[in-house]
């Protein structure tokens, strides 16, 4: 009972591990970029980074995991940038320079706002949505409501409730959790091809989640297993880069 109460009150703290950045913080990277600001609502400002090429083949919209901020996540931009793709990363509310109070509905709306801004700059069939870990939920939702080229899910969950239930099997997680992130529900409405990449030794979100996601629509969802891959180390496997290259060099 007490535990349930604690989980309910402190869930935001357990789920999100943001790194806050001062508004004056200067980002610094070796490749050309600019900062983006999306004024979603009064008091809600979403901050992003836009890595750009001179003649991009398309755009990767990258939704990061539940930790830190785009400052550090930006290092993964290069894995797509090297194939002549622009990359946009955004911080969720309360992460980095982004402001606003967190809740699932508004966070999803923020991301849809970002997507709509980007659609004015890129042909939609050249936009790929990439969601990593927690970001896979946001990515699936945005892909289900729009028409991007591909959806790529990196170490995703079947739905967020299942992730938490695995760690707290003795609590009525379903009722306590304010974040559901129903990837399993949204994927049914995704019209583009979806690629899922998952390590076989992921201990945080077992590959079983992805196997079950794949079964939702076997013809439109491809699961790529990285043998021996964990939750946080897929880019250190050549197979990961092979996968990215195969998708981007169409």
């Amino acid at each position: 009972m007490v535990l349930s109460g604690l989980l309910y009150l402190l869930q935001d703290r357990f789920i999100f591990k943001p790194e806050k950045l001062h508004q004056d913080f200067q980002f610094k990277y070796d490749i050309p970029f600019k900062e983006l600001f999306f004024d979603v609502a009064p008091g809600v400002r979403i901050n992003g980074l836009h890595f750009f090429r001179q003649a991009p083949k398309g755009l990767i919209l990258y939704f990061h995991g539940n930790t830190r901020s785009i400052k550090g996540w930006a290092k993964y931009a290069i894995d797509f940038y090297r194939y002549d793709y622009d990359v946009v990363l955004v911080d969720y509310r309360g992460f980095g320079k982004s402001t606003g109070k967190r809740n699932e509905k508004d966070m999803l709306a923020d991301m849809q706002f970002v997507y709509q801004q980007l659609v004015t700059q890129y042909p939609e069939h050249h936009i790929l949505i990439y969601g990593r870990s927690l970001g896979s939920g946001f990515a699936s939702k945005i892909a289900s409501d729009n028409k991007p080229r591909y959806l790529i899910l990196d170490a995703p969950f079947y739905n967020f409730t299942r992730v938490v239930e695995r760690f707290l099997p003795f609590l009525p997680v379903k009722f306590l959790l304010m974040y559901k992130l129903r990837t399993d529900k949204w994927l049914r409405h995704v019209n583009c091809h979806t690629y899922i990449i998952h390590g076989t030794r992921d201990r945080l979100i077992p590959i079983k989640h992805s196997e079950q996601l794949q079964k939702i629509n076997p013809h439109k969802i491809t699961l790529i297993r990285i043998e021996g891959g964990g939750h946080n180390n897929l880019p250190s496997f050549p197979e990961y880069h092979n996968f990215v290259r195969d998708i981007l060099k169409y």
Binding site: D30, I78, R82, P235, P238, R245
Partner: protein
């Protein structure tokens, strides 16, 4: 007038500007103190590829294919063999056409073709993920070409260039080097294709291949690749820096 004459000079003398081979007679014997084996393979009826395989005391962890710089021949670069053999790797050095005992026309195509032969030999002896590709200076473009096409464990580039053309443009800024230089060696294109880990080691005071030229490769490196800058290091003295050896040792420890 002067521009034209110089341009013609660059065009006809480009081989002399870029390549400084020292041929050896077939009968000459290498005087290496390190245990080694010399191998000659016939590329075709008239061209020979000369390879020296430096071996390890115990069973090797793998093979390093070493693509050397533009000077002399294997005998000059043999001094670097212990960097690899003491880490448990055999190191196989190859001479380019016209270098040492290797013969044949010196063209970009031949550089790649010889490299591929070397790779095939190594792949016949050991698993592909035990093969490390190593390029030094001019050899970096060849190693990158190979890594873009063949499986290997990792690629290590010591003092690389963005492309041979970009390097020529640095030396002859007012010439249309793109059309003049027969050797392109576009490492930046090849690196885009490489999926195995890449490590670049470059000195910040390199007077031959400017540090800035190598830094232009950053946009084609992966998130997990590494660019090791050796503060104050120049083109031919990186092995005098502890950081150089620490880097090599840790890369070859795995």
């Amino acid at each position: 007038m002067v521009y034209g004459l110089l341009g013609i000079g660059i065009y006809y003398l480009q081989d002399y500007l870029f390549f400084h081979p020292a041929p050896l007679r077939r009968e000459e014997r290498y005087q290496f103190t390190e245990p080694h084996r010399e191998v000659n393979i016939a590329f075709n009826d008239s061209a020979n590829i000369n390879i020296v395989q430096f071996s390890t005391a115990a069973a090797p962890k793998g093979i390093v294919l070493y693509f050397h710089g533009n000077r002399k021949n294997i005998a000059w670069y043999a001094r670097y063999a212990p960097d690899f053999t003491r880490n448990g790797y055999e190191v196989w050095m190859i001479d380019y056409p016209g270098y040492g005992k290797s013969t044949g026309p010196l063209t970009e195509h031949r550089l790649y073709a010889y490299a591929e032969q070397l790779y095939k030999m190594a792949a016949a002896k050991m698993g592909k993920d035990s093969i490390v590709l190593y390029g030094k200076s001019m050899g970096t473009g060849i190693a990158a070409w190979l890594a873009a096409r063949k499986n290997c464990r990792q690629l290590i580039l010591e003092t690389p260039y963005y492309s041979m053309t970009s390097l020529a443009a640095h030396y002859f800024p007012i010439y249309p080097v793109n059309d003049m230089i027969r050797y392109k060696l576009p490492s930046y294109q090849y690196l885009q294709e490489v999926i195995v880990p890449v490590t670049i080691i470059h000195g910040t005071a390199d007077g031959i291949i400017p540090y800035s030229n190598a830094r232009k490769l950053l946009p084609v490196l992966k998130s997990t690749d590494r660019f090791i800058s050796i503060a104050g290091g120049s083109h031919n003295n990186l092995s005098e820096y502890p950081l150089f050896h620490q880097t090599l040792d840790s890369l070859l420890a795995k």
